[in-house]
């Protein structure tokens, strides 16, 4: 089980930036399609809020990969 926990750490490490990139791409598309201030505000809020969370998911993945969550 500890091996699975560690290898899945790689998934979490990749998932953080991948999801943020997906969010960024959607935000750019939406802001180009509708260049109103409301659209810009809402997507900017999403990006600002989810950026540190995606970093947190990467750190979580790193800890998992290093075996910090292993159980004896």
């Amino acid at each position: 089980m500890n091996t699975i926990r560690r290898y899945l750490g790689l998934v979490w490490m990749l998932l953080g930036p991948a999801l943020f990139f997906l969010l960024l791409r959607t935000a750019m598309q939406e802001m180009q399609a509708s260049p109103h201030i409301d659209t810009r505000i809402q997507w900017t809020v999403f990006l600002v809020v989810f950026f540190p969370i995606s970093i947190g998911l990467m750190i979580f993945g790193l800890y998992a990969f290093r075996g910090e969550y292993d159980r004896n």
Partner: protein, 488 residues
């Protein structure tokens, strides 16, 4: 049980903590529950959708600042004590709510109106960020190890009961301003919406009085007398790997999934009924009120159960059931709000309203307004008694899942962190999970529906994805063992 806390004493502590927390949730929710009315009052009326989005954005802003409130007041709670900190959050919340009720509309003072409302909303979010962690920690630090889940689950009921109270007060006010219902609703939309905000000050004053009489948490008091309190709770909580890894695990393995299940069941459900199914204002709220009323005892049930069988698997089961049941539940809600095909000869009543608009009532009691412009639009639907009961059951099932994931989580979070930094450490993952992931659920789900255009259930993919990731992380990395010692 802690030797200083008698059985009678613990119930007084739970009562005083829960009453204040319930009032804070009430204050916070009346704003969200009145989003459309507030949009008309405080935001430019050129585009109703923009006005609604602006309000929802303000709503989200209220949630987004919650993690900051968790940091500010969590730090304070670990430095000066639990009691005084959550007394302060109560004053801040009550004052902001009362002030929102006094702000003149956009037509009177222009852009100052939405700016003031936004500022007060941010203060509400900040206060809420500090309240919950304090109340949960305070009760848990008084509770005996074998009943920690049970006693803290009373705190867990407050969020749902706060929503219940806010919906009840809103409906009561909306119906009681004039003997004529239409006139009463008109008055409510013009000025009556302020009443639920203004009455909150009385509730807050009572709660402050009760809380003033409470003593400090015995664990914190002992820690303080021994000189063991943290000098820098933020650095200790998030700067040290030993604790940071637990904060991240609490967020990604428990609170983010719990947050989306909570907000899907209690907020997106209402938004879906009102905006997608086009069920009328009163029914979309009374459906939720009944569902909450029937489901609330299960917070206590699952809190108690978690003392016996552990917290983890109850929460994970709630997440798994939510993932598998959301789409069928929402599909059925859509089905219930679709008028049945009945032949004209079977007694359909048609009442002309304005131009191109008529009110249609079916023999079974189902009624709706049909407007024929380019395509017929059905709005203001009134469900027949059978469909109404089924809708209550479907929303009840969602709130039941909320009780599974939310009932045990206060005890679970308290047991993860040491006393000296508990307030700070548990507040942040709780409020990111609930405030950011959960609070944005109705907003993101509605946005996805707008972007997709045709699929009315597409908004569910957001909670399903977040709950799915959380389920995998929680199942693999969380421990089911309850920590009997929270005195560390």
């Amino acid at each position: 049980m802690n030797h200083t806390t008698s059985r009678r004493g613990i119930w007084r502590i739970i009562g005083a903590s829960s009453a204040g927390t319930l009032i804070e949730w009430y204050d916070f929710y009346i704003f969200g529950s009145l989003a459309t009315v507030i949009a008309q009052q405080f935001f430019p009326k050129t585009n109703p959708t923009a006005a609604l989005l602006s309000t929802l954005a303000t709503f989200a802003a209220g949630f987004i600042v919650r993690p900051f409130g968790a940091l500010v007041f969590g730090r304070l709670g670990d430095l000066v004590g639990r009691k005084n900190t959550f007394l302060l959050t109560l004053v801040l919340m009550g004052g902001s709510t009362f002030a929102i009720g006094l702000v003149p509309g956009y037509e009177s003072i222009g852009f100052a109106a939405p700016l003031l409302v936004l500022l007060l909303r941010l203060l509400q979010g900040l206060a809420l960020g500090g309240e919950y962690g304090g109340a949960a920690t305070y009760v848990a630090e008084h509770a005996p190890p074998d009943k920690r889940g049970y006693f803290t689950s009373w705190i867990q009921t407050t969020a749902t009961l706060g929503l219940f109270l806010s919906l009840g007060v809103i409906l009561l006010t909306r119906h009681s301003l004039d003997p004529d219902l239409n006139e009463s609703i008109r008055k409510f939309n013009t000025w009556g919406w302020r009443i639920p905000f203004l009455v909150s000050i009385f509730l807050v004053l009572v709660s402050i009085y009760i809380r003033m009489k409470m003593a400090e948490s015995p664990l914190f008091a002992r820690l303080k007398s021994e000189g063991g309190i943290s000098k820098n709770p933020l650095k200790e909580s998030f700067g040290h790997k030993t604790n940071l890894k637990m904060v991240l695990l609490a967020l990604f393995g428990a609170t983010m999934g719990q947050g989306v299940v909570w907000y899907t069941g209690q907020f997106y459900a209402q938004s879906f009924l009102e905006n997608t199914c086009k069920v009328n204002f009163d029914q979309s709220r009374t459906i939720l009120i009944w569902a909450i009323l029937f489901a609330t005892p299960f917070f206590i049930f699952f809190g108690r159960l978690s003392d016996r069988y552990g917290r983890k698997w109850i929460m994970m089961a709630g997440l798994a059931l939510a993932i598998f049941s959301y789409r069928p539940i929402y599909r059925q809600l859509l089905h219930l709000s679709t008028p049945p095909a009945i032949a004209v000869s079977m007694g359909i009543t048609e009442t002309p309203l304005a131009e191109n608009s008529k009110r249609i009532t079916l023999p079974n009691g189902f009624a709706y307004t049909e407007t024929n412009n380019s395509a017929p639009q059905l709005t203001d639907k009134h469900l027949d008694p059978g469909s109404y009961r089924q809708a209550v059951l479907l929303v009840f099932l969602q709130v039941f899942l909320v009780t599974m994931v939310y009932g045990p989580i206060a005890a679970f979070l308290v047991e993860m962190f040491p006393t000296r930094i508990r307030y700070t450490s548990m507040s942040l993952p709780y409020h990111i999970g609930n405030g950011v992931f959960g609070g944005l659920t109705p907003f993101i789900a509605t946005l996805l529906t707008t972007m997709s255009g045709t699929d009315k259930l597409v908004g569910l993919w957001y909670p399903l994805l977040v709950a799915g990731i959380c389920l995998v992380i929680g199942t693999l990395y969380l421990s089911n063992e309850t920590d009997p010692n929270v005195k560390d």
